[in-house]
């Protein structure tokens, strides 16, 4: 019979199916990329850096668990900033107490975002040394590593300011080295690592930015100056600040320029207008700019305007202006801060602060903070707010997010770090001169060495850096947070204690550290 034929057929089928099994089960992803594929060429490292920059830019977005920018805990509650209206800020940062605890979502989100950035930076720093990578030059490699190290230091700056002692990790995480025994390293240790990173960045980075939105040497020097202030080393702080100031690529904006040069305005505000922000758009003052673009992939978005602008359109007969955009006033500037400006100071002028708004009919409605000094009430829709983040979209006036370029770090702040460093060394004359350089361009009055004090410097920082600076870090650095917030912020004054100078370590960080007890910050309950 045909037995032979059948057996042959059967054998054939079995061989057919069994022939290629080992290769058959190998995975070749076609739609995704792995670390081993990416970090092999300078382009791959550039892609890694792009993600790091995008991480930094997330500072000014909302994280889902909170109204307004995720970085508000670095700014308020403080002498200058508080909640605008009932419910606009999570009570964890208004009334504190049991509202701020180790399970507060905002706190753990902040922590995870910063360490995610650190791991991405560690990956770049470590893999750059892989001999397989084909660097064109040492300079190319040092520039890449310098950027990664600077952003790593930037993340640790947030961490030590918010939590104090934090675990220091400088290595890429991998699936085979998961740790359950982290320890909190003393602030001093972390600051040493930051110093080392920033010094390397200072070496590796170019004198001037090559592409807008990227880092240059001056940013490293700026952060070094601040770090040395934190480390009680005003002498080195002054040196680094001075080095950035002396860089011929940077100078304060003292003249009108750019897209609105022909319209009424002040030089101080020109650097905030979209089209003027980037260094190659004539902005000599910006050390670090955050670029945004509505219609481009990677364009990002921010909620600065929404966070800081009062809801003017709630007023009768006031529509959302396409130029100004729509405010949601999550945060407000305290009356104390608003009252710090001399009448002639450009920084407090109608161009810098919404001193009035126009109705649809063209009538002028003046804004005022009067009567709110001790008030816990809702900021009425005619309360002043900053114009730094005005950002409307004529195509879509109601839009939530903002898409205009923004300065992130300005030379003016470097001057103020220099002021602080000189003052701490007893050089009040030098401090006064540096202060006057900043004040002069905004038509504020000249001051003398006798006027210089820590409190005056703190006031000046509000005047210059309103809504920009990480106010709490500044106040904590000079140990004035508790005192000044109690004095000038009636919302939170009754509630804040020593405890709130640091945030609680997120519970998830403590719970996952199975093999070692990770101590909680004082005053917060923990297991």
């Amino acid at each position: 019979m045909n037995m032979k034929k059948y057996i042959t057929y059967l054998a054939f089928v079995f061989v057919l199916v069994s022939g290629c099994t080992d290769e058959f089960l190998e995975e070749e992803p076609r739609d995704r990329i792995t670390a081993d594929d990416l970090y092999t060429t300078p382009t791959g490292f550039e892609n890694g850096l792009n993600a790091l920059y995008a991480q930094v830019r997330l500072e000014r977005t909302q994280d889902g668990g909170i109204n307004g920018t995720r970085i508000y805990p670095a700014q308020g509650a403080s002498d200058a900033y508080y909640r605008s209206r009932f419910g606009s800020v999570d009570n964890a940062f208004v009334e504190y107490g049991s509202f701020l605890n180790s399970n507060t979502q905002i706190v753990s989100n902040l922590w995870s975002w910063l360490y995610e950035t650190i791991n991405a930076a560690n990956t770049i720093v470590e893999r750059a040394d892989d001999p397989e990578v084909t660097w064109e030059s040492d300079a190319q490699k040092n520039e890449v590593v310098g950027q990664a190290k600077l952003i790593r230091a930037w993340a640790y700056r947030h961490l030590v300011n918010l939590w104090g002692d934090v675990p220091l990790t400088l290595n890429e995480s991998s699936g085979t080295t998961i740790r359950t025994d982290w320890e909190r390293d003393p602030v001093a240790t972390v600051m040493q690592a930051m110093e080392s990173d920033l010094l390397d960045a200072e070496q590796g980075l170019p004198e001037q930015q090559t592409t807008p939105g990227r880092l240059s040497k001056a940013v490293a020097q700026h952060y070094l100056a601040e770090l040395y202030l934190m480390m009680d080393d005003p002498e080195q702080a002054a040196q680094k600040a001075q080095a950035a100031i002396d860089n011929p690529n940077f100078s304060l904006i003292t003249e009108r320029y750019g897209v609105r040069a022909g319209q009424p305005g002040v030089p101080f505000m020109d650097q905030f207008y979209d089209g003027n922000v980037l260094f190659n758009q004539g902005n000599t003052e910006v050390l670090w700019a955050l670029p945004y673009d509505r219609d481009v992939l990677g364009g990002g978005d921010n909620v600065m305007r929404r966070s800081w602008m009062i809801r003017y359109s709630v007023n009768a007969d006031v529509s959302v202006s396409p130029e100004r955009g729509r405010g949601s006033d999550f945060f407000a500037v305290t009356p104390f801060a608003l009252d710090l400006y001399e009448p002639q100071d450009d920084r407090g002028s109608e161009f810098a602060i919404h001193r009035y708004i126009l109705t649809d009919a063209g009538d002028t409605l003046f804004t005022s903070s009067e009567g709110y000094e001790d008030s816990l009430a809702i900021r009425e829709p005619l309360y002043p707010s900053t114009r730094k983040w005005d950002d409307g979209d004529p195509d879509n006036v109601g839009t939530n997010d903002g898409y205009r370029d923004q300065p992130y770090l300005r030379l003016a702040e470097t001057y103020l770090l220099l002021v602080e460093a000189l003052h701490l060394q007893g050089d009040n004359a030098g401090a006064a001169e540096a202060l006057n350089t900043v004040r002069r361009r905004s038509n504020a009055s000249e001051i003398t060495a006798a006027d210089v004090s820590i409190d005056f410097i703190l006031d000046e920082r509000i005047r210059e850096l309103l809504t920009e600076e990480h106010r709490r870090y500044t106040l904590l650095r000079v140990n004035r947070w508790l005192e000044r917030t109690r004095a000038h912020n009636p919302q939170s004054a009754p509630f804040i204690t020593e405890r709130e100078q640091l945030l609680p370590i997120p519970q998830v960080v403590i719970d996952t550290n199975i093999d070692r007890v990770l101590p909680q910050n004082p005053g917060y309950a923990s297991e």
């Binding site: 037995m3 059948y6 079995f14 099994t21 058959f24 089960l25 995975e27 070749e28 992803p29 076609r30 739609d31 995704r32 990329i33 792995t34 990416l38 550039e46 892609n47 850096l49 792009n50 993600a51 920059y53 995008a54 107490g97 049991s98 509202f99 605890n101 180790s102 360490y115 995610e116 650190i118 791991n119 991405a120 995480s173 991998s174 998961i178 740790r179 807008p212 939105g213 980037l278 673009d293 509505r294 219609d295 481009v296 990677g298 364009g299 990002g300 809702i378 195509d395 879509n396 109601g398 370029d405 997120p506 519970q507 998830v508 960080v509 719970d511 996952t512 199975i514 309950a525 297991e527």
Partner: protein, 985 residues
């Protein structure tokens, strides 16, 4: 019962096997006709076999046969599925007619098992078979056939997690959960091929039977995919005969079964002003105006409607000597109870079988589905859902159009109904074709080979356009989205079967070698900002913003399996299986797993010492032990991956700078979860078929659990998947079928099922520590609730030293550890579990003459869940969102039920856990069958009219939308009233 002759394991073969006429010198011819003893109808397709040889034939359409037999032939074996086999001595007769008696003992059934069939009598595993009569006659018509199984099969838990028109929110688990993170859904095998399509694409009236393989032995032949149990769905095959045409049609309406008390405009105003003060509410002109004018918008009502469902199935089946066919077409049309939620489906099926030669059979089971899921429904549970939407805002503008922003001062709130304005087209087409070639080797008796090839091809096309009348469209200048999905799934199985009977020994071997590939590709395109809206999603080229994305995945499987069934005299049964599975998604160092099993059975009632016990029909003891896997690892999951995090570059920072951020850690040793299961049970039948049942107990230990272990965020990545942890799962199941009354005109039949299942975590990370962050606790159920306990409300004047900040009206937290301090961590404790401890089902069918009444009860007990409707502080701090009517605490209402109506009464975020147990009268079906004397004049063979009520009544203490649903701010369940008609020609 008498001994039955051997049957071939393959159902198809059994029915249609013809054997090669062998050249024999001396022959005689026998002919005759086979009929059904009870109906006296002739029987086609009956096997006639000369005992001890391979000589045989099957009866033709008229029930006639003609067979040449050797001179020395002594006995004919006559057998047919569903009938008791007979052996007839030839004794030189040339005409042998026989009336076969229907096999009333269900124990004689042939049951589909993996890669073949088995006599139920010879089963060693825990397998439950549900036939088409139970599916179609006791239960009403279902959009999703598995809804008809809720409470019918012990150990099979069917639950409804949502109620869309397509009924895609049906969850199936067998014997509870073993896995914590991995899927717990059973493997579904349709006509022998693993099925990954939608459950609603399996048409109820096409189904011949559904078999549920529960224990390790039954499921182990599916190896790395068998740990959650296996469901085998077999569609109808025809027997040779005249074409039988039948029609099944139904029409029904659906009404909302239950709604929570959502506040209307006036109630909302009172609620909001009491909560945050009139000043806050007064700042919103829209609210003030609508309140003054007495307007109120009932958003839930606007988002819902009376639903409608209709379903029509037309089928024809028949065949001749060598060819059988079953063709059917079904049209389903559902208008859901959510406005805009429509579902239409066309299913066409062709089951064909052709005997090319006596030893070669070609067959196909092919189904084509066309599914139309177009249209979006209103938003119920989301940020802009109907439950949260403020009743003092405007659904419609002065022109009667839906508003874009119902609340102009608060434009972040979109209209919950705005989805109705979205143009949405969503069409899926699936071709599922299973083709097999069977060779019965004529030269070795009992040896057959089957080449089984399955191919599934899916294509899905979606187009969506948000015009300027929606918030998305308005803010983005028009938004279009298109998505094209295609997936191809092929499987090739080589199945070799050998069957041999020698004396009282019976041996059956099945071997398998198979390979499978599943490739899926998707392309999406999101585009925004168009010059006009006319071209909807056909204008991506004109868009200012274009954001395409694509994805690809490929999964490969290679498997070998061997099974030996042995029995001695049908008394002592043994099954041994082993399967080796390879899967591409496993980590680099762990590609293959081996899964063995052993099962023993003892048909005690066939022993001599029990043969005198007249009331005992059947007693069978079963025992099995085996290992299964749960392979639930997605493709590429074990590789370290990066995610996109783009930035801007270029001279003016205006072009995309692609960025990649580390997103996962690599896991080269990641593999399957291993479940070792022990099952012991017995089947019994007493009182001449009056009572039949089965009791099973099982114990499963699952190790290598795939867990997303929360790792310290300090790693920059917050979790990693590992094979860690172990669970135990044990349970007991009872199945009972009684014919309590069986008279000529009246029959009362009851099916009762009961399952108890309890899982617990026995190991997590190997260090004895609980994982508080993930909510996993050693020694506790996987679904244990662990939280702070609500302990009432702080009353005026009460000593509040436990919570010194608390004011009267605030939530009181129970001081679980009794240390005098409330701590957000230390005072957490266990509050029941989310999976039922017991489920039970009861189906009663009463038949009086031609009228029958069935009702199905289903109950789950021992479930505790959060009632999210009662969550505090979800209305925003200025009370902009709506809520439900709650028993707020007040000075004049010193209740402990719910805190005061103000913000921040619950600083510890205590949630409300409630008992979600229920008893549901799930299905009532009243049917009338036209009597024979009325049928004949009109030429029908069957006419059945029925009415059905689905979800008739629910008894529960749950104070929310429905205890079965997960989300409580969601589309409610419906109560359906259905009428239908079945015709047979």
């Amino acid at each position: 019962m008498k001994t039955t002759t051997q049957r071939y394991s393959n159902f198809l073969l059994l029915c249609f096997l013809t054997l090669l006429p062998t050249a024999v010198i001396a022959q005689s011819e026998i002919q005759g006709q086979i009929t059904d003893m009870s109906t006296e109808e002739t029987l086609p397709g009956v096997n006639i076999l000369v005992k001890g040889t391979t000589i045989g034939t099957v009866t033709d359409v008229e029930g006639n046969y003609r067979l040449s037999v050797p001179e020395d032939a002594e006995t004919l074996v006559i057998s047919s599925v569903g009938y008791t086999s007979e052996e007839i001595a030839i004794d030189n007769q040339t005409i042998i007619n026989l009336a076969l008696s229907p096999d009333i003992q269900s124990l004689q059934e042939i049951v589909v098992v993996g890669y073949g069939t088995q006599k139920k009598e010879d089963l060693t595993g825990s397998v439950i078979s549900v036939d088409s009569e139970v599916l179609n006659e006791q239960q009403g018509p279902k959009v999703n056939v598995f809804q008809a199984l809720q409470g019918v099969v012990p150990g099979l838990n069917i639950s409804q997690s949502g109620n869309n028109a397509a009924q895609s929110g049906v969850n199936i688990t067998i014997r509870g959960r073993n896995s914590i993170k991995a899927g717990n859904n059973p493997l579904i095998v349709l006509d022998g091929v693993p099925y990954s399509g939608g459950l609603n694409e399996i048409e109820q009236s096409d189904v011949q039977s559904i078999e549920i393989l529960k224990d390790a032995s039954a499921a182990a032949i599916y190896g790395a995919r068998g740990a959650n149990g296996v469901i085998l769905v077999t569609t109808k095959k025809s027997k040779p005969g005249e074409p039988k045409i039948s029609y099944n049609g139904s029409f029904g309406v659906q009404r909302i079964a239950n709604l929570p008390p959502v506040l209307n405009g006036e109630e909302y105003w009172d609620f909001a002003t009491e909560r945050v003060g009139e000043d806050v509410v007064n700042q919103f002109p829209t609210l003030v105006e609508n309140r003054e004018q007495g307007n109120s918008t009932d958003w839930v009502d606007l988002g819902t409607q009376d639903g409608r469902q209709q379903k029509h199935t037309l089928s024809v089946g028949g065949g001749g000597d060598r060819f059988r066919y079953y063709l059917s077409g079904t049209y389903t049309d559902v208008r859901g109870i959510a406005v805009g939620d429509d579902f239409q489906q066309i299913i066409a099926r062709a089951n064909l079988s052709l005997d090319i030669t006596d030893w070669l059979t070609l067959s196909t089971n092919t189904q084509y589905t066309h599914q139309d899921l177009s249209g979006l429904s209103a938003d119920f549970g989301g940020f802009n859902g109907t439950y949260f939407a403020n009743p003092l805002t405007n659904a419609y503008d002065e022109n009667g159009e839906l508003t874009v922003t119902p609340w102009p001062e608060e434009p972040l709130f979109a209209n919950p109904l705005s989805n109705l304005l979205v143009q949405d087209e969503d069409i899926n087409q699936r071709l599922f074709s299973n083709n097999s070639l069977t060779i019965n080797f004529p030269f070795i008796e009992g040896l057959s080979y089957r080449l089984n090839t399955g191919i599934t091809y899916l294509t899905g096309n979606q187009g969506q356009f948000y015009g300027s009348n929606t918030l998305e469209g308005f803010t983005n200048g028009g938004q279009a989205f298109t998505s094209n999905t295609s997936s191809t799934d092929w499987i090739v199985e080589n199945i070799l079967t050998y069957q041999k009977v020698f004396g009282k020994h019976s041996l059956n071997f099945t071997g398998l070698y198979s390979a499978q590939n599943i490739t899926r590709e998707q392309r999406n395109l999101l585009s925004q900002r168009f010059p006009s809206e006319l071209l909807t999603w056909y204008q991506a080229g004109l868009a200012e913003v274009i954001n395409p994305s694509s994805s690809y995945s490929e999964q490969q499987y290679v498997s070998q399996m061997g099974r030996i069934n042995y029995n001695y005299d049908s008394k002592y049964l043994l099954t041994l299986t082993a399967r080796r599975d390879g899967y591409s998604g496993f980590g680099e160092d762990k590609k293959y797993g081996v899964f063995p099993s052993l099962a023993l059975g003892w048909n005690a009632s066939q022993e001599a010492f029990l043969s005198d016990v007249s009331w005992l029909d059947l007693l069978k003891l079963r025992f099995s032990v085996g290992r299964n896997g749960n392979q639930a690892i997605d493709p590429y999951e074990t590789l370290a991956r990066l995610e996109l995090q783009n930035y801007l570059g270029g001279d003016n920072a205006g072009t995309t700078a692609p960025g990649f951020l580390p997103a996962t850690l690599s896991t080269p040793t990641l593999g399957w979860e291993t479940s070792n299961t022990l099952n012991a049970g017995f089947d019994f039948g007493i009182l001449a078929g009056r009572v039949q049942g089965a009791i099973d107990g099982y114990y499963t230990r699952t190790s290598d659990l795939l867990l997303d272990r929360a790792i310290s965020p300090i790693h920059g990545i917050t979790s990693v998947t590992q094979n860690i942890g172990e669970t135990e799962n044990r349970g007991i199941e009872l199945y009972l079928n009684t014919n309590s009354i069986q008279r000529e005109n009246f029959v009362w039949n009851t099916t009762f099922s009961f399952s108890h299942n309890q899982n617990k975590i026995t190991k997590l990370y190997g260090d004895g520590q609980d994982d508080v962050a993930n909510g996993w606790f050693i020694g506790r159920s996987i679904d244990a609730n662990y939280a702070l306990v609500y302990d009432g409300v702080w009353q005026t004047g009460e000593d509040n030293s436990l919570q010194p900040d608390a004011e009267p009206g605030d939530v009181k937290v129970k001081d679980v550890d009794e240390d005098g301090v409330i701590d957000a961590n230390e005072d957490r404790t266990f509050i029941g579990q989310q999976n039922p401890r017991y489920t039970a089902g009861l189906v009663n069918t009463f038949t009086y003459k031609n009228v029958s009444l069935s009702f199905s009860l289903f109950s789950q007990q021992g479930v505790t869940r959060v009632n999210s409707l009662w969550d505090t502080d979800v209305v925003f701090l200025d009370a902009r969102r709506n809520t439900i009517d709650l028993n707020w605490w007040g000075e004049d209402n010193p209740t402990n039920a719910y805190p005061a109506n103000r913000n921040n009464t619950n600083p510890f975020d205590v949630r409300f856990y409630q008992d979600a147990s229920f008893v549901r009268l799930r299905d009532i079906t009243l049917a009338y069958r036209l009597p024979e004397r009325l049928l004949q004049p009109i030429g029908f063979s069957q006419v059945r009219i029925f009415g059905n009520i689905r979800n008739a009544l629910t008894f529960t203490d749950w104070e929310g939308l429905d205890p079965e649903l997960d989300a409580q701010r969601a589309l409610p369940l419906d109560r359906a009233f259905i009428v239908g008609l079945s015709l047979g020609f």
